[in-house]
């Protein structure tokens, strides 16, 4: 058995380190900071989903904010409860009335699934669209969703939106609600990260990538593009719906302006900055999305503040520069550094004979 490349070990080590950092972080910060890191988790989830769709499957979505919005509304409605609303349960068979509302944490998977189904339904017509047309259609959806939410105010509360109460910490755990929401968000983020990793490195991911890189070639190798593209849409919007549900639980509020079209645009921008088609950069995309707006406006070391439009300028210019200079985003940068690291390490262990690596591998 060949030993794993040093950079692979490094990958697992950094994943473990990340888990430790996330678990210990709340000890060092107040509630406001903590809330920012809860947001980081939900942006991370949304970007994972977007990366599956756009990065691995090559379908551009400029409407992921709208998918998050759907998840948020579903979650808020379930938490509030509506008379007559009920959920069917198999064991024991029967309807569970939801008129009084549900515990917030249980609404998260339902919000994800409903959004996933909406995503599949949107993905079916999207099969006929590619590239720019798909970007257009999803963009139009992102612009239209707030107006639709305002129009059907009997369900969505119109422009005023829906307010829910901040949940108590469940299971009798002895931590504050903000801490509970933080751990809840990161636990889900961890599960979904591993799920995404399993999906993209296996059969599913190969099918997605083969469609992205050449649909005709994929078909001739027996991949069914319709199936896998709709599936990518479904999985991706499931992630977005979960992120939206986490958001509404964290801020206790949703209205049509919670998910403006600018969110959809910035989500795509962050996914690109993190690096399309690689999971290692997603956390950087989420960091940029959450913290760039704060620090671009109030730079930490400079004695003055910029306009509140500065984040947009930095975001836009950064996006263009990354596309021109570093198309792989942060993940591409990491991969390059990983390659250098591997090379250096091999050279050290094999006594400065870098050529021997390739020759032994060819013979063996």
């Amino acid at each position: 058995m060949r030993a794993p490349a040093p950079s692979t070990i490094l990958k697992f080590a950094s994943f473990g380190a990340a888990v430790v950092v996330i678990a210990l972080l709340p000890r060092f910060m107040g509630e406001f900071r903590l809330s920012q890191f809860t947001f980081l988790a939900l942006y991370f989830i949304a970007l994972l989903g977007l990366n599956i769709l756009t990065g691995y499957n090559g379908q551009i979505s400029l409407g992921h904010g709208a998918f998050m919005g759907i998840g948020a509304y579903v979650s808020a409605l379930l938490i509030l409860g509506r008379p007559g609303l009920a959920l069917y349960q198999l064991d024991p068979p029967g309807w569970i009335p939801l008129g009084d509302g549900m515990t917030p944490v249980y609404t998260i998977p339902i919000a994800g699934m409903v959004t996933g189904i909406v995503g599949v339904l949107f993905g079916i017509p999207a099969l006929r669209l590619a590239g720019v047309s798909l970007a257009l259609a999803t963009f139009a959806m992102a612009v239209a969703l707030p107006t639709v939410a305002k129009r059907f105010d009997s369900v969505t509360g119109g422009g005023g939106g829906l307010s829910i109460t901040l949940p108590e910490t469940p299971f009798g755990w002895d931590i504050s609600t903000r801490h509970w929401l933080y751990y809840e968000a990161w636990a889900i983020a961890g599960i979904l990260f591993v799920a995404a990793w399993v999906m993209v490195r296996g059969r599913l991911g190969r099918a997605w990538r083969s469609i992205r890189d050449g649909e005709v070639a994929a078909v001739s190798s027996g991949v069914n593009p319709a199936l896998y593209k709709t599936l990518a849409f479904g999985v991706s919007s499931f992630y977005a719906g979960v992120a939206g549900a986490l958001l509404v639980i964290e801020v206790s509020f949703v209205n049509p302006d919670t998910f403006p079209v600018s969110l959809s645009i910035l989500l795509l921008a962050s996914a690109v900055i993190g690096g399309l088609g690689a999971l290692s950069g997603v956390i950087f995309g989420a960091l940029v999305l959450e913290f760039l707006p704060v620090y671009a406006q109030n730079p930490p070391l400079l004695p003055f503040d910029f306009s509140n439009q500065a984040p947009a300028v930095v975001f836009g210019a950064g996006l263009i520069l990354i596309m021109i200079l570093l198309p792989g985003g942060f993940a591409g940068l990491l991969r390059k550094l990983g390659g250098v690291f591997n090379g250096v390490l091999r050279r050290l262990t094999e006594g400065g004979r870098p050529m021997s690596v390739s020759s032994t591998r060819r013979n063996g």
């Binding site: 756009t54 090559g58 551009i60 400029l62 017509p125 006929r128 669209l129 590239g131 720019v132 047309s133 970007a135 257009l136 259609a137 963009f139 139009a140 959806m141 612009v143 239209a144 107006t147 639709v148 305002k150 129009r151 005709v216 079209v261 645009i265 910035l266 795509l268 921008a269 690109v272 306009s307 509140n308 439009q309 500065a310 984040p311 947009a312 300028v313 930095v314 975001f315 836009g316 210019a317 950064g318 996006l319 263009i320 596309m323 021109i324 198309p327």
Partner: protein
Amino acid sequence: MADFVQQVVSGLATGAIFASLALALVLIYRATDVVNFSQGEMATFATYIAWSLMDRGLSYWPAFALTLVLAFIGGAAIERVVIRPVEHRPEIVIVIVTIGLLILLNGLTGWLWGAEVKAFDSPFPNETWDVGGVAVSVQDIGTLGVCLLTVLALWAFFRFTTLGLVMRAVANNPTASRLVGVRVGWMLALGWGLAAVLGAVAGMMAAPTLFLDPTMMLIVLIYAFAAAVLGGIDSPLGAVVGGLTLGVLLNLLGAYVDFVGSELRLPTALLVLLAVLLIRPQGLFGHAVVRRV
């Protein structure tokens, strides 16, 4: 009946604005093979320049003309500086660059001019003419006239001048054009410049009714997308017909169908867009793309 005609005329006027922006999209699509998501923000930026010029005391038409010149230079410069380096990269890369431009220009507009809404003068008097018993707003007629004149001028440029011919050749076959000595890069920049001019016209015509703020053209851009797709994204005639049709259609639906009202006009446009993309992706006048496998 008089009311109906009035609605049609006012629909034509908004439709003309959609048509101008849609035509700008088509121009860039034909030159660069990409949909320019920043087209609306480019138009808004140009409109703010016009506002500043008038704020400095210039009267309307000189400011209008100067804005068009500046928009042309700006559009060409964007192509040279930002689009050129990614010209031969995959479609998704160029789309993302234009999205970056959208974010950047939107931020710059807000930074330079502030986010508060500004009033923008109209060159046309706020009166109505009586045409055979129908009260027609001069504003609408003026908007329609300016947009159609711009489109006609552009058509004449492409049809009757050598430069126009060369630009059509580049859009048609860049490689062959390069072989006969055309400087393809500069022709693409010229196309972006002309698209920026069209956008500036649309912006300045839309501003009196929509009022000027940094996101003014975002909604118009969606309508323009729908119009361009309806007409066929590679067809200039289609963009104009699509824009006018969409303007009239939305105005009539908004006025006579209670369910749609003014709130659901945008989702209706989205439905038109989706329906066309699904049923006839090449639009009314476009060409179906045939792929060699």
